[in-house]
């Protein structure tokens, strides 16, 4: 576990530099050169984290990254609950992403909502040879017949679709026409596109722009706006995160007209251009669509962070600052209301967690956004990195991390294990593929994609659960049992 001796930032930087050198030695020269650009120690005197990002992973290593399909189907589109999302191609992709992200939703599954179902065109060899367009048309007919209350269909392309040159756009257009303009939306998110899931987010956002906004037409003419309409953008409702966030926004007097995309509906997507402000949690996956709405519809957007009371408080005020005094007062009222609750949570858990060191490696926004929540509990993040971050994510990270923090972009399994082995943090926060590796090493772990099937972690209600879960992880008696008394 972490050493009791306090190290100076200079010592830490020196150690991290040495550590990076050590891991690079294991690679063949060509790969060492490429990987060297992705590893660094944050220097507070410099403006940036100075790591390269959003570049192809090197072959043959255990990259933790996913693919464009995962970014579109798994993240952006999948949680739109009243649509049927077809995993178009072979059976596997849909099977592996089936229900695994815990995008909670309310509805009658199989009747008016479809979030935890796996729809696939189950490509066979003949579909590869002859093309799958005809089959896709038939699938859409069958969905229409068996799921009459579905409000739309999306076609999530898997690798072969792009390679064999299927025209899913033409099929979608024709079928949409046949079914009275029902949204039938082709998404070219083949897994080989781009370098990670990140391109899938971008493609999915662009498709919403072109196939939802541009075609919504008169559909939302009857929508009655209010001056306090906002849309939650980039919250996937993992374990109910978006609900724990929405409740605060509504309590402060705002009207949330859409949730993107956790517990979301096509109607909410279509109505979003009527919002007065878009509030953006996962910047990485959805900044594209908020930028578009700003340009096209003049809707401003603001980033927020609902992890931990310090950041929640700042975010509520930031959001309120875009509105009148009624909302500003509302924000203060909400902050004051939850203050005693938050103080009690901190009073209970901080003594158990104070001084504990954390290493993170997650996707989206979490490598930086959760740092404040750890700090509220007296913990320190000593290393962090993104699966699929871009340069602007690393720039934003500098606002969160301390001098000397180890930064690793697209970390490989090999590097991550060595870093944790040497730094010996008290907790690692990453994904399921990493979890059991570190637990076997005797290092407590929490899954920071799925919240270890717990959650929500967003909002004030989420912070209580977050604090409890970190206590569960770090202070479990099991970690004292790792070594046999005779070994």
């Amino acid at each position: 576990m972490s050493t009791a001796v306090a190290e100076s930032p200079a010592d830490i930087k020196e150690r991290n530099k040495k550590l990076i050198g050590e891991v690079l030695e294991a690679y063949p020269d060509k790969s060492a050169k490429r990987r060297a650009k992705h590893l660094n120690t944050y220097d507070a005197e410099k403006a940036e984290c100075s790591v390269k990002s959003n570049i192809k992973s090197i072959p043959g290593v255990m990259t933790i990254r996913g693919c464009a399909y995962a970014g579109s189907k798994g993240v952006v589109w999948g949680p739109i609950k009243d649509m049927v999302h077809i995993s178009h191609g072979p059976v596997g992709c849909g099977q592996y992403s089936w229900g695994s992200r815990r995008n909670y939703y309310k509805g009658t599954t199989g009747v008016d909502t479809f979030g935890t179902m796996q729809f696939t065109s189950d490509f066979q060899e003949k579909d590869i040879v002859f093309g799958g367009d005809k089959k896709l048309g038939k699938i859409i007919d069958e969905i229409q017949e068996l799921f009459p209350l579905s409000k739309g269909i999306s076609v999530q392309s898997e690798c072969p679709i792009g390679l064999i040159g299927d025209d899913i756009e033409a099929v979608s257009k024709a079928k949409s026409k046949q079914y009275d303009g029902k949204p039938i939306i082709p998404v070219r998110c083949e897994g080989f596109r781009g370098v990670s899931q990140s391109l899938g987010h971008h493609i999915a956002n662009d498709v919403i722009r072109d196939w939802v906004f541009d075609k919504a037409g008169e559909k939302n003419a009857g929508f009655q706006s209010t001056p306090y309409d906002v849309a939650i953008i980039g919250d996937y409702n993992i374990g109910g995160d978006a609900w724990a966030s929405r409740i605060l926004l509504e309590e402060m007097g705002l009207r949330v007209i859409a949730q993107w995309s956790g517990d979301g509906t096509i109607a909410e997507l279509e109505n979003t251009p009527k919002a007065k402000l878009n509030i953006l949690h996962c910047y990485r996956s959805m900044n594209y669509i908020t930028r578009h709405m700003e340009e096209k519809f003049g809707i401003p957007w603001v980033e927020y962070n609902f992890f931990g009371p310090t950041k929640i408080e700042a975010s509520l005020r930031e959001i309120a600052s875009k509105f009148d005094d009624k909302i500003k007062e509302g924000a203060e009222r909400v902050i004051a209301k939850y203050k005693p609750q938050m103080e009690a949570v901190i009073a209970k858990y901080r003594p158990r967690l104070e001084g504990k060191k954390v290493m993170l490696y997650v996707g989206g926004l979490r490598p930086r956004h959760v740092i404040g929540a750890y700090e509220d509990l007296g913990m320190e993040v000593v290393g962090t990195g993104y699966e699929f971050g871009h340069n602007d994510d690393y720039q934003r990270t500098t606002h969160y991390v301390k001098d000397g923090t180890l930064i690793y972009d697209d970390v490989t399994g090999y590097e991550f294990e060595k870093f944790v082995e040497k730094v010996r943090p008290d907790l690692v926060g990453s994904g399921v593929k990493e979890k059991y590796i570190f637990q076997k090493m005797g290092v407590p772990f929490r899954q920071m994609h799925s919240w270890d099937y717990s959650g929500p972690y967003h909002g004030y209600d989420g912070f209580g659960i977050f604090a409890r879960d970190m206590d569960i992880a770090i202070n479990a008696p099991v970690w004292k049992l790792t070594k046999a008394p005779w070994s």
Partner: protein, 519 residues
């Protein structure tokens, strides 16, 4: 206020609080374009009808909630069964992230596997450079003794030739010439995960026995007294393989577990992460050519591998995930016949204990109706055991089953009066099963975790047996093969039956006249 420091509630309690219920109701009413409760109920009721079932079964193109995964998953499963072997998937990297997560969620264990990370440029120019760099990196970083290459749909569509690519990579010095790199083409659009297991095992057999892609002499078979054992793709591999080893040791059999992944998915937590643990040694894999016979626990999972082995002159024997008395009897008798080793008294006693347990308990199972779904061999084995227990299978469904499987299961059903009226469904999915469970209800359902959606929709209690099981822990550590494994299965079935009995009788003052402490 909802959450308090004194009592932090979990999501399933938190979101039942009135303020959250109200929030969701307002969202629905104002923003979701909700069709209304009456319409939802009308359509929900319609999905339970025979009319809906007919439409559902008329589906030709759409697949909904299939009980199968893709070939490359089976390839990874097979590859990790060899000593210090790194599975290497040639294709786009997202697939590997999925395979690793999928196994990790089932076994609660790390799964090591690399990808050649092919992207757009590889789609255009082919993935040769990815193979050259990938093998070099994997070899340098993870220090494997062997790399087992398989493909994804992407590599197959663009037509990458693994044999040529590996040869090329070796010439470029990615790995030493004599380093073992096995390969199998495992397109995701053909078959399922069991096909991938089969192709990979076949690839490994051919590599070691047939001269390592023409680089060394083919092995000359010198028959000995040992036997090879193939487990097949099996969610219980950790418990099952260990149980088989115990049985073989009791019998004094000289054996090779071909693809022993029981240790790598059950490493200890003692401060060290073992990327590789246990496994069939490469020497054993090569020497397996000399064995007298190869026994496979899963016929439909090892068709090509067994054919290849038979071509080398060995006897091959296949079972269908044997569980229960007769299944285990057949297995032990075959082992005894092939090896000439007697079935020891200890195993005969175990058999007697299982018969004893069945005798004590089958009254609770007799006449109960079951739906069974999963991989073809597992379905067969479980169906046979249910018949033995006096239960009545009603629907048996394997999305990755074929006509031959259908016929084989039908023959099994025809052999018992308890099988009358049962239908077998090859190629159907869990949405088909949903219709069946409404129109021809059963008492219990046996299958993997995804059945919990069917349990919710149809009210049919689910007995979790299969792959994957994500939402219960450690089941894979208990065997389901052999008399002892069958005992585990029996207990699992009975526990569910008793739980349901208790649930039906636990309302105070209403149903609790028979809320008994003795069952």
């Amino acid at each position: 206020m909802t959450e308090t420091a004194e009592k932090i509630r979990d999501h399933f309690e938190l979101f039942r609080e009135p303020q959250y219920e109200e929030l969701m109701e307002n969202k629905r009413k104002n923003f979701e374009n909700y069709v209304g409760d009456a319409e939802v109920t009308r359509v929900a009721d319609w999905t339970k009808t025979k009319e809906y079932q007919d439409k559902n079964f008329a589906r030709e193109a759409l697949v909904i909630n299939p009980a199968k995964a893709c070939q490359p998953l089976g390839a990874v499963f097979a590859a990790v069964g060899f000593e210090k072997t790194l599975p290497f998937v040639h294709g786009s990297q997202g697939c590997v992230a999925y395979y690793r997560s999928h196994f990790t969620r089932h076994f609660k264990e790390p799964t090591s596997c690399v990808s050649s990370s092919m992207t757009e440029d590889a789609a255009v120019f082919g993935g040769l450079n990815n193979m050259i760099d990938g093998l070099a990196n994997a070899y340098a970083l993870y220090k494997p003794k062997m790399i087992a290459v398989s493909t994804t749909c992407m590599a197959e569509v663009i037509g990458d030739d693994l044999n040529a690519f590996i040869k090329n990579a070796k010439e470029k010095g990615s790995v030493p010439q004599e380093f073992d790199v096995t390969y199998a083409h495992t397109p995701a659009f053909v078959g399922s995960h069991i096909t991938g297991y089969d192709n990979t095992m076949k690839g490994i057999v051919e590599h070691f026995w047939d001269g390592k892609s023409g680089t060394v002499e083919k092995l000359e078979r010198k028959p000995n007294e040992s036997i090879n054992f193939l487990g097949g793709f099996d969610g219980y591999t950790v418990g099952n393989i260990r149980e088989i080893k115990r049985i073989f040791e009791l019998m004094g059999v000289d054996y090779t577990i071909f693809g022993d992944n029981s240790d790598v998915w059950d490493t200890p937590a003692d401060g060290e992460f073992r990327m590789y643990d246990g496994g069939t040694t490469l020497e054993q894999a090569a020497n397996a050519v000399h064995a007298k016979a190869t026994i496979s626990m899963q016929e439909f999972c090892t068709e090509k591998t067994l054919a290849t082995i038979a071509d080398h002159g060995q006897e091959v024997v296949a079972f269908n995930h044997p569980v229960g008395i007769a299944g285990t009897d057949r297995f032990l008798q075959a082992v005894s016949r092939i090896t000439g080793k007697a079935i020891p008294e200890a195993l005969t006693k175990e058999r007697g204990r299982l018969v004893d347990a069945i005798g004590d308990s089958s009254a609770h199972i007799h006449g109960k109706k079951f739906a069974i779904y999963g991989d073809p061999d597992l379905c067969y084995g479980l169906a046979e055991f249910i018949l033995e227990l006096g239960g009545e299978p009603v629907h048996i469904l394997a999305t990755n089953g074929n006509k031959a499987w259908e016929a084989k299961v039908q023959a099994l059903l025809d052999s018992s009066p308890f099988g009358a009226g049962c239908k077998v469904y090859a190629g159907k999915d869990l949405w088909h099963l949903r219709s069946l469970l409404f129109t021809e209800p059963v008492d219990f359902m046996i299958g993997n975790t995804y059945g919990k959606y069917l349990e919710r929709d149809t009210g049919t209690p689910l007995i979790r047996l299969g792959f994957p099981v994500f939402d219960r822990h450690h089941h894979h550590r208990s065997p389901v093969w052999g008399y002892q494994g069958s005992m585990n299965v029996l207990v699992k079935i009975l526990d569910k039956i008793f739980d349901e009995m208790d649930k039906a009788t636990n309302t105070a003052g209403k149903t609790d006249v028979s809320f008994d402490i003795i069952r």
